[in-house]
Symmetry: C2
Subunit: 354 residues, 2 copies
DNA sequence: TCAGTTTACACAATCGATTGCGTAAAAATC
DNA sequence: GATTTTTACGCAATCGATTGTGTAAACTGA
């Protein structure tokens, strides 16, 4: 019948039991100075009365929110959503909530979101930078307040923070070298924005592989774009209509690589015989396209888990220790889009599962 | 040099300006009773001193957290991550944070997560139920406390809450009828767990289409599974080795459907000539597989947006109004995996983009 | 048995912002 | 100029839990 059910507080419990709120609070927290029976009684009554601790009040006193903020470009991307999944997993186990927000790859939005999360007093921040982020002042408040920041995947070396990354250079190098080993002599590259570390590093790895094997680096074969499917398609058309077209494409992501395969096929180019293709990320589409796409596997979930662990670790080591960079292993997944030699036959080891 | 930078509070500002904290608080909130100059001065100084409101203290007083909780099975699924993306979008614009948590499709975890979010005092809850959730007591505390609950996609009609769903029955009916119109006479169905509404409704829609067109419903052709790629593959093998195999498969999701295509092709069955296939969800893989998969488009992002709006709306209408169910439109996307008549030639309208 | 220890609990301040109520000072009214 | 009305702001309680300090009562040991 009571319309406004007031929430039960420790005072209500205290009154009922004729003890002080202090005692109730301590009992609920298993403080040693409270008698066994009292503790039992308090807990019992608390449950009966449907008490739930007011973590806002508690948070005010203890200056805690139990929240970790996450800023990513878009949640609905295969890599990102797996990353978040990993973050949520360890954060939850440590008793933290995960607040997500997306920058939509916009610098301005990233700033806004960073401010919002700061105002929300998150106890840690995990960021995968927006495509066009070039300055980092919006993270300074965190720094000044000693709030752990961890950069993941798309990071900046201008800021000294913990980072969780992969070795993009090596991965790209490996993929490119693989194409070379498959006999490709003229390898094109779908590159991303060069101010974003991952794309720069991938391009560098690609170039390094060419150089190591004494292949010329032809600027004409390096196409910069946002790596969307459309751009992949357009780029492929462009490349294949060159007077001296490439015999392989190494794309900095899978979307564009898949488009390349589709476009080339439509143009009657055989893959991998006439054009070998390799991508990056091991998205699900990479194993579905025909022929299946050779790509780099990215340990997305692990990166998320480790990023969250870094936040927790930093919170422990109150005194600013050296910032740490964790580099995770990647793996070249060889599929048919690049298998030009007759030795390789069936699909190789693959982490295909659902 | 100061090691522990204490945070600036309204008291600090008040002192500096020789006014009361009350005035500062009101000035910052543009209260009418505070003079123009005073307000200006307060805001100016606040900015200079690097003041940030303590939303915990404010939240305690106003009993607000500005947080909306979300429980989903797995964040890293195409449909789910898009859903969340939509939620975050409107929640953020309304000044709310989104706390995500995943049930991993486990009933027990769903309970735990619901409790955690309840303890965190989220002001609203958006849920897509776990696969094996059959009771709903864990949501009662929300109900008792008048905290808005919105079910999305995987819902339960046992609980009266706002819901955002699609018409699975109609969508499945449409897809199945499409297969029938393409000349298929013996259509199999990959079905999911029948206690989860969406899979039950899809199966019902499938059956209804068969009946409408006087086709027999053969239990042998209805395979229940978790709809994973493995299960899709196994199911296809089983179906195709029947003495009287089906000439079409309607799968309740795209993963299993794609596997069906792959498996059938490997077995030398031509698609769609010998086996037409249709899926559900319009995942990216559906447009990549060959032949491209006919499927049902699911407005995931919109569902998320609307779910968030429902939460906000409920918060406004304090008095329990009737709970509302929003049913979103789906769309049959016809691709080549089902195009058996010679009329249809090129790919039809498709929402292919990146 | 009495000083010294433990045990078990209460007091009251505190975290920072909000808000109902009250009131001097300034402005308006006649 | 006296009175009423506005304007602009302060006082103090409040939100609910936490915690340093203080203290009766119970217990210990010689």
């Amino acid at each position: 019948m009571k319309k406004k059910k007031k929430e039960v507080t420790i005072y209500d419990i205290a009154e009922e039991l004729n003890v002080s709120a202090t005692t109730v609070s301590r009992a609920l927290n298993d403080h040693f100075s409270i008698g066994k029976k009292t503790t039992q009684a308090v807990k019992k009554l608390a449950k009966e009365m449907g008490y739930r601790p007011n973590i806002i009040a508690s948070g005010l006193r203890k200056n805690k929110t139990n929240a970790i903020g996450v800023i990513v470009s878009w949640i609905n991307r295969p890599f990102i959503s797996s990353l978040i999944s990993g973050i949520e997993d360890v954060a939850d186990k440590a008793g933290y909530n995960v607040i997500i927000s997306q920058s939509n790859d916009s610098f301005e939005k990233e700033i806004t979101k960073a401010q919002t999360l700061y105002a929300s007093r998150v106890e840690g921040l995990i960021v995968s930078l927006a495509m066009d982020t070039k300055s980092y002042n919006h993270f300074y408040p965190y720094r000044q307040n000693n709030i752990p920041i961890v950069f993941v995947d798309r990071v900046s070396f201008e800021m000294e923070t913990d980072k969780v990354i992969i070795n993009n250079f090596d991965a790209a190098f490996t993929a490119t070298e693989h194409l070379i080993e498959m006999g490709c002599k003229r390898i094109a590259h779908f590159a991303g924005a060069q101010h974003r570390n991952i794309y720069k590093e991938r391009q560098d790895g690609y170039i390094h592989a060419l150089k190591k094997h004494n292949l010329p680096v032809d600027e004409q074969l390096i196409l910069h774009s946002n790596l969307s499917m459309e751009e992949g398609w357009k780029g492929t058309r462009r490349l294949l209509s060159l007077s001296h077209p490439p015999d392989a494409i190494f794309s900095a992501n899978d979307s564009a690589a898949v488009s390349a395969i589709q476009c080339a096929k439509e143009m009657g180019i055989r893959i991998p015989e006439e054009l070998a293709v390799a991508g990056f990320n091991n998205d699900r589409i990479s194993s579905i396209v025909e022929p299946p796409l050779t790509t780099i596997n990215h340990p997305a979930i692990d990166m998320g888990k480790i990023a969250a662990q870094q936040v927790l670790k930093q919170k422990k080591n109150r005194e600013m220790v050296e910032s740490e960079t964790v580099i995770l292993k990647t793996e070249l997944i060889i599929r048919q889009s690049s298998m030009r030699n007759r030795l390789a036959k069936g699909p190789t080891s693959d982490s295909e599962s659902c």
